[in-house]
Symmetry: C5
Subunit: 253 residues, 5 copies
Amino acid sequence: MDLATIIGIIGAAAIIITAMVLSGGVGMFMDIPSILIVLVGSIFVVMAKFGLNQFLGAAKVAAKAFMFKSDDPAELIDEIVELADAARKGGLLSLEGKEVSSDFLQGGIQLLVDGHDPEVVKTLLSKDMNKSVERHEQGASIFGALADVSPAMGMIGTLVGLVQMLSAMDDPKSIGPAMAVALLTTFYGAVIANVICLPIAGKLRNRSESEILIKTLIIEGMQSILSGENPRIIEQKLHAYISPKLRASAFER
Amino acid sequence: MDLATIIGIIGAAAIIITAMVLSGGVGMFMDIPSILIVLVGSIFVVMAKFGLNQFLGAAKVAAKAFMFKSDDPAELIDEIVELADAARKGGLLSLEGKEVSSDFLQGGIQLLVDGHDPEVVKTLLSKDMNKSVERHEQGASIFGALADVSPAMGMIGTLVGLVQMLSAMDDPKSIGPAMAVALLTTFYGAVIANVICLPIAGKLRNRSESEILIKTLIIEGMQSILSGENPRIIEQKLHAYISPKLRASAFER
Amino acid sequence: MDLATIIGIIGAAAIIITAMVLSGGVGMFMDIPSILIVLVGSIFVVMAKFGLNQFLGAAKVAAKAFMFKSDDPAELIDEIVELADAARKGGLLSLEGKEVSSDFLQGGIQLLVDGHDPEVVKTLLSKDMNKSVERHEQGASIFGALADVSPAMGMIGTLVGLVQMLSAMDDPKSIGPAMAVALLTTFYGAVIANVICLPIAGKLRNRSESEILIKTLIIEGMQSILSGENPRIIEQKLHAYISPKLRASAFER
Amino acid sequence: MDLATIIGIIGAAAIIITAMVLSGGVGMFMDIPSILIVLVGSIFVVMAKFGLNQFLGAAKVAAKAFMFKSDDPAELIDEIVELADAARKGGLLSLEGKEVSSDFLQGGIQLLVDGHDPEVVKTLLSKDMNKSVERHEQGASIFGALADVSPAMGMIGTLVGLVQMLSAMDDPKSIGPAMAVALLTTFYGAVIANVICLPIAGKLRNRSESEILIKTLIIEGMQSILSGENPRIIEQKLHAYISPKLRASAFER
Amino acid sequence: MDLATIIGIIGAAAIIITAMVLSGGVGMFMDIPSILIVLVGSIFVVMAKFGLNQFLGAAKVAAKAFMFKSDDPAELIDEIVELADAARKGGLLSLEGKEVSSDFLQGGIQLLVDGHDPEVVKTLLSKDMNKSVERHEQGASIFGALADVSPAMGMIGTLVGLVQMLSAMDDPKSIGPAMAVALLTTFYGAVIANVICLPIAGKLRNRSESEILIKTLIIEGMQSILSGENPRIIEQKLHAYISPKLRASAFER
């Protein structure tokens, strides 16, 4: 899934670079000052809006979202069913120290082992889930803000270039190249917004949804284990959250 | 209904092609690199946002929505009334193996035959309905994202062309044709968004609504059959969902 | 009220035609192909989105909304009070066959005469009201879609014209007129959207609101008659729905 | 408060006129046909959308909102406390004929004197309050519609001018002035929308909020008087609605 | 946090000034009349919309939000826990006259000392919190309105310049510089909106959220102290509002 984001962004960038090559070479589109004006200017504006901590936090969230694969809900259900089986046979305490695939599930098991109420387990895990949703949401909103600001910074850069060009229109031959450079900031603004920031913001929102699914499965599963439900029933209940194609029962393999 | 979408898109495309022919020939509007830049670039960006699976899934949903005609609610009501009649005379079990027009109805009948509770029947069928609504919604939102991105990719392509043209303005005669080519990506972006993606997204949303109607009729009908209501009453109840003109009673023919 | 819409649209069109005449003649603004491209193209796109039936239905709804005057709420209240008076003196059955101003009121009276429950009367009439609100809403949304699409079709037409003009820039003298023609589709798109479609969509929404008022008055009135309330009280209750200036009591004339 | 609106609009207009004078004279910006096209055209379109009655009603509401100052909540509280004092000493009937600052308060007192229930008093006064809120809302939405339409009419006017200019480009010297005139409608559209209509619409919305405060104070006050509360308590309760700085108690002066 | 806003705005401005210097000097971008037209014009329009008092109040709120650092929630929890400890040992009255970090907390303590009900304490403090949220919201909405209006004023200024330039196109050499000056107002409008007003509006909204957190902590804390809860429990409860990293217990140091 995250591979798709990286491929998508790199692919779109490659398409644009191809367009540059086709129209005569990448060189004339590379103007470091223009890139800095749009990129650094936009980052400053977004930082003014959100504060440094939130800004850096968003970068970290985004990086994490790209580097770690999100869990496979079907595998997770198998894992929970196994845990339920173990709990049925050896009691809740036998779950202590089990190796599990995610920290969140680990935390849930710890709560079971500690002997908390089902209600308390749900409340604590839900609070944790909401916190991470909030973090993803903030990451998405910072990339959304960058996507709003960068075209504006691009336009500001182009206006600066146009004013300069128009003020000193002595040599008609210089008009073309000057205007080309002026347009570059608009170009960078459009690329940063549409090819980089908007897909990342959208991705973080989608990612958040799949994490909600994963964590909801774990919360439901922990509660079911705690109330001693039959592992088969637990599997059936959790399968309702995923698409029918993925519902291969662990009991029929 | 789906015919209208195909005719509409083809008709609008034909109008635009006519405009091209009137202004001197289609040839000068065909620039394969420009088309690829806008189309492939937009697809990459949308893929970055949604992931490959969701993207391909949306294409499949859209294709299905165009190829299969949605059921006629009036005919469906007749069919349900017939089933109710058969169930009244021969019991619920007599419905087993009946040939019906849709898989969803088949699934509903199976639930009846299996002897489930009315509440369970409703819950299971509603969950299925919501899943397919969600799938259509996602299809619509991916085409909506394409419609957002393609004008931006068109503008990026035009900026590339303009920068190239302005950088090398030696021969005044080359300005016109170069700018014409630069504008082509903006043109393709506008066409892809307004003539193709937006109507398909709108269509998928409308289609979703008519499927909700169809499935609601089936859910209501199954429940009524299960509670042994009089077929005439069932027909009356279901007729309330459709417009008066379509309410020809099967009992008065 | 509907007169105002017609006067408004014609007035705005006349203003624009005046502007054309002032700037040298209407002739140069008439370009049949341009008009067809924008108008027919937009209609095709909207048809693709909504389907043929809905599209034609919307046209019918719009036509009706312009041709029939909506009822005067004050007169309607007088009429209901009269009916209440008659019902009090001669019983509900005496209302049968009364000539009334609207079909909806006629239907309501028929329900009274048929001896239905107040609850049933309310449910049936409300469902009918909601259906017509829905129809108006759909009409409004189709004109809204036309208003969204026509500027885009206008821009597409202008891009076609510009590309053609720029590709063949041999004779500098032809640039002006060619660009003038290219701009015409943008012009038509703006006029169709802002002068025709948006006011009609807004009008249909407003119209819907006044119909809700009228039908709410009738529903309330029918219920009051059915529960045998005093005509004076009925009048007072219904007057609460209209502005104080219109509350001339039938009993004080 | 309303003074600020008038000063604001006149000030912004003065700034724009100053800009005209600085750039060479107001004369070249005055083009009566252009003004009429944008202003009258926009009014026609808005009339088409809302109907004549609503349109004229909105103008009246706007005029009233500017001419009458809204009441000072602190003074109003003093007045209500005085009334409560009088009612405590001489009974509710002693309030009859008291001179008060607003019609709404007068109406409230009349309801007290008439011996209505607290519930009835609240219902009747609230309905009156909602009616006036609705009127202000409609006024605001009509000015909002004008602000939407006038830039579009300005663009239409400019397109007419451009098409005319481009069609007859014989004399290169005439291009500049012709284009200047064509741009005037865009200019008027922007000024009408941003300097006149949007602030008035915003003002009417703000005005509506302060009227709700005033009328809520009166409604609360009337109910408190009716239930014979201590004037000091009434003052305290009503002070909770206004900012601490304005809470000078009438009992401590 | 507020430092980030100041650094962000100054940084973005520095980037733009760098762009000016790179393109030939800041001088040609400084045009006092243009700045005044956009800035003063926008302020007049916003004043027309909100009234003078609200406008000046917003400026004050914004200034305060930048000058005063918002409290650190972790330190605040320590402080509340200390108060709870003191109240446990010496009774509520012993809290009188304690030096605390914020006025809001001081007000809360005063309510405790005065012996009010927990419900009353909550109501009074919540009302105070809502008032300050409202003030921040209004500040944000005024800066948001400035961000909406200033690009429009910039465009109006540019149109004035263009009309003037086009009307008097005698000397081709003057076209460039005249157009450069005309573009300056668009440039200023974009800078005022995107680099100054939008980040401040966003900041005030974020600031409001952190103040809500601080005040919610105080309200919860006051209630817990009043009901005589154990300081450790109070700490645990309040820690739930902040991120785990900040939850260093005062009892474990």
